[in-house]
Amino acid sequence: MDRRKDQSGGTEFGKEKRFTKIFFATDAHGSEVTFRKFLSAGKYYQADVVMLCGDLTGKMLVPIVRRSDGGYVSRLFGQEQKAETELQLKAMEEKIADAGYYSYRTEEDGAQELRADPEKTDKTLKKLMLERLERWVRSAEEHYKDSGIRCIMTGGNDDPLEIESILNSSGCIMNSDGRVVRIDDDHEMITVGHANITPWKCPRDVTEEKLEEMIENVASKVEDIETCVFNLHAPPKDSKIDTAFKLDDSIYPPRLVKEAGQPVLVGVGSSAARKAIEKYQPQLGLHGHIHESRGVAKIGRTLCVNPGSEYGEGVLRGAIVNVSKAKVLSYQLTSG
């Protein structure tokens, strides 16, 4: 932990203060520009620890099909996109990557093959996801090695388990999922990237019972629970940072549930996460998962933060949290 003034020159009630500045972001979902902002975030926010936790990978494969005249065509944001030159093609690919999608150059036959063979589509998408994540980890290493800033990256419920080997491959970037790690001299942190079951049945969706077991397994290893940080991708149930519209998951894609003509808002967080926070009362809870439910909530003494996500717009939503040994000193939600 540093002994220093914060970047604004502020001091706590006239005294020089000791604290660790955490920058926490989540749900980047493959967005290149969001990730590149995350790389700058440590220095920009003068953080001691930066975290990009949960749902690192994107969701969509966007074929770019070569036309017979040499040009390229694709579909993005529901609209046809054309590229006639290599420069335009690169710009198109960049735009697709910034939105969190994966471009895939192919011929007309290749596009038809993808359409006809969902397994091939899945394989192609997964390959591109892993390639991008591999590149991200290497970039993060480059940026944060020797910077004095600790960098943590973990998966979330939307991420396939295959990403673990990539995240674990770095000596510099820490994958804290399922473990107790130290983020400074005074604070341990536990991480669970899995979430309670969603209407989309994502790769790391598990039952509440299983999730409780996973949290319990790792929480029981913490030495000082009072200063601990709980980094649980799923926010605690009914905490107001887990509010989303109720969905009917008996069909796919899930449909909005309306009552009296109105969409119904419900807490969709995890009761296991809530139970753990209520039981252990850690100093800080860091959450994500529900992009639209950005906010801060108090559960007993624990400050729970969900910075939300706007990766699709290329915005790095995050939270700066200043923690001392005794308490959370202050926080700030950012839209970088």
Partner: protein
């Protein structure tokens, strides 16, 4: 060649609730034709007699449609609740965003909450009771109507309405939307249908006769009030049949522009609207709201004025605003009062009255909803205390709504004791206009101030030559805004020039106060190790 499809894997995602149709209707109800007609028809046509109202409607639709291209492009790239506040704070500065959106728009909603409730009392319920008393020959109802004109009675009524609406809002959005869908929208629409029907089938002579008999209940008997008012206006110097004038047309345009811009105010809820990530949908929502608005105003104001007699409407507005005491027994009962006596039919009068009330109740809700979105956004940015952004189990920001109701109640008391402060509402339009100018400036600098965000947005591909369309549309909007400002500062009708100095200073004090608050908050947060400026800044990508 058909563009290839995309392949989406099963992952979680954001779901938004308000469909484009609901959003457009919400935007329409934020302004609503009945409010425009009630507040602007009589003074607008009296003081800009050379205006062509149908032309004004077309100009509004065309000019706003261009201006909203810039607005929709910002909406689609930053679809977050708080609209103008988000755009200005991210693209200009945090202090500007806070001071001008809260000081220029948000704060005045609390003012409007009182004005609206007061209008229900004196502009709808009072003439409604008088009309019912007259139609059913019941003097006590007439007296009840007259009693509502008492400022203290009207203030008490206003405060009760404000708190009733607050109660509905704290029960959550569902309670409100149920009321909107099953009561407010049907009543508003039925009112316009009834009005159109009346204009089609009832001859003007019937109105002239009924209007005279209605005016006579107030004591001063006149065999022909219709023509007496026209004659009196002429005597006071009104020009009731001037030739077409572009100056007057733009004068009326400016008046309606101020109201119509509030369709943008509905977009403070963009975080809850579906499809606004597409700029075409965002634009379509605003255009849809404007089309509904123009349609309803054309029925009520343009057609209504033609039906009642343009000369009479101008005269009625002129006498009421210039010197109502110059005509013994002249009693202003507003536009609802005029429409309801056309038939002297009790059910029709009641339905029209309920439609009017529904419209104004809608204002109460919309004003608070939009202002609460500013508060949310500013609370998240740590400019305001976090309790102001907290919500109850039903998702309603109870403390914020109660705070709004308290302030609106105080405003009601102040306005009752010092009626002259009501003139401040003229300045509210000016303050709002300045805010919207800054939103246009935000749009102009967007492609350069937040380059990455702009490049990722769906609007970035639209260019004319090398110039982004957002810049061209915003420049056009800015020119329109400056025409509006020019009218405000050169024509005394808008009240900016004629208001007392304290009133003129008031909006400036509010905005300066917001700046002071911002810097106070920044200082306080600095002590906590937080730099609130970081909330507004885009991180440069590595």
């Amino acid at each position: 060649m058909t563009p290839p499809e995309v392949f989406l894997r099963k992952t979680s995602g954001v779901v938004r609730a308000l469909s484009p149709f609901d959003s457009a209707f919400y935007g329409f109800l934020t302004v609503s034709g009945i409010g425009v007609i009630t507040w602007l028809m009589l003074p607008g046509l009296a003081f800009f007699p050379g205006a062509n109202l149908y032309l004004v409607m077309i100009l509004l639709l065309v000019f706003m449609s261009i201006r909203w291209v810039a607005y929709a492009m910002m909406v689609s790239s930053m679809p977050r609740s708080g609209g103008d506040y988000v755009f200005q704070s991210r693209l200009l500065r945090g202090d500007i965003g806070w001071a001008f959106t809260w000081g220029g728009i948000g704060f005045w909603q609390l003012w409007w909450n009182y004005i609206v409730a007061n209008t229900i009392a004196i502009g709808v319920l009072s003439p409604m009771f008088e009309f019912l008393g007259h139609a059913t020959n019941n003097p006590s109802m007439i007296n009840a109507g007259i009693a509502l004109l008492d400022p203290i009675t009207a203030a008490v009524f206003s405060i009760v309405v404000v708190w009733l609406c607050t109660w509905v809002m704290v029960t959550g959005m569902r309670g409100y939307v149920t009321i909107q869908r099953y009561i407010l929208i049907p009543l508003t629409l039925v009112s316009f249908v009834i009005l159109a029907g009346i204009f089609l089938v009832v001859p003007r002579e019937t109105f002239m006769t009924n209007f005279t008999s209605f005016q006579n209940i107030f004591g001063q008997v006149n065999p022909d009030w219709y023509h007496a008012i026209i004659d009196q206006a002429k005597e006071l110097g009104a020009d009731l049949s001037p030739p077409f004038s572009w100056y007057d047309t733009f004068g009326l345009f400016v008046l309606l522009y101020g109201m119509m811009q509030n369709i943008q105010y509905s977009m403070e809820l963009i975080g809850e609207m579906k499809g606004v990530e597409s700029f075409k949908t965002a634009w379509g929502i605003m255009f849809g709201a404007a089309a509904l608005l123009v349609g309803s105003v054309t029925i009520g104001m343009a057609w209504g004025a033609d039906y009642l007699g343009m000369e009479f409407i101008r005269a009625y507005g002129y006498v009421a605003n210039v010197d109502p005491s110059s005509l013994a027994g002249f009693t202003w009962r507003g536009v609802y009062g005029l429409f309801t006596v056309i038939t002297l039919n009790v059910p029709i009068g009641i339905i029209l009255g309920l439609g009017w009330i529904a419209c104004f109740i809608q204002y109460e809700f919309n004003g608070a909803f939009g202002a609460a979105r500013f508060i949310f956004a500013a609370s998240f940015d740590r400019i305001l205390p976090s309790w102001m952004g907290s919500v109850n189990k039903r998702g309603a920001p109870v403390k914020t709504y109660i705070f709004f109701a308290v302030v609106s109640s105080v405003i009601a008391i102040v306005c009752t004791g010092y009626g002259e402060v009501l003139g401040l509402i003229n300045l509210a339009f000016l303050a709002g206009q300045v805010t919207y100018i800054l939103t246009m400036v935000s749009a102009i600098v967007f492609p350069w101030r937040a380059k990455k965000l702009w490049e990722a947005s769906p609007g970035s591909k639209y260019k004319i030559g090398k110039m982004p369309v957002i810049v061209i549309a915003a420049l056009f909007g800015l020119i329109m805004d400056f025409i509006v400002i020019a009218y405000y500062f050169t024509n005394p009708f808008y009240g900016v020039l004629t208001s007392a100095l304290p009133a003129q200073l008031f909006p400036i004090i509010i905005i300066v106060g917001c700046f002071v608050w911002f810097y106070g908050a920044r200082w306080y947060r600095n002590r906590e190790g937080i730099n609130i400026e970081l909330a507004f800044k885009e991180v440069p990508p590595a």
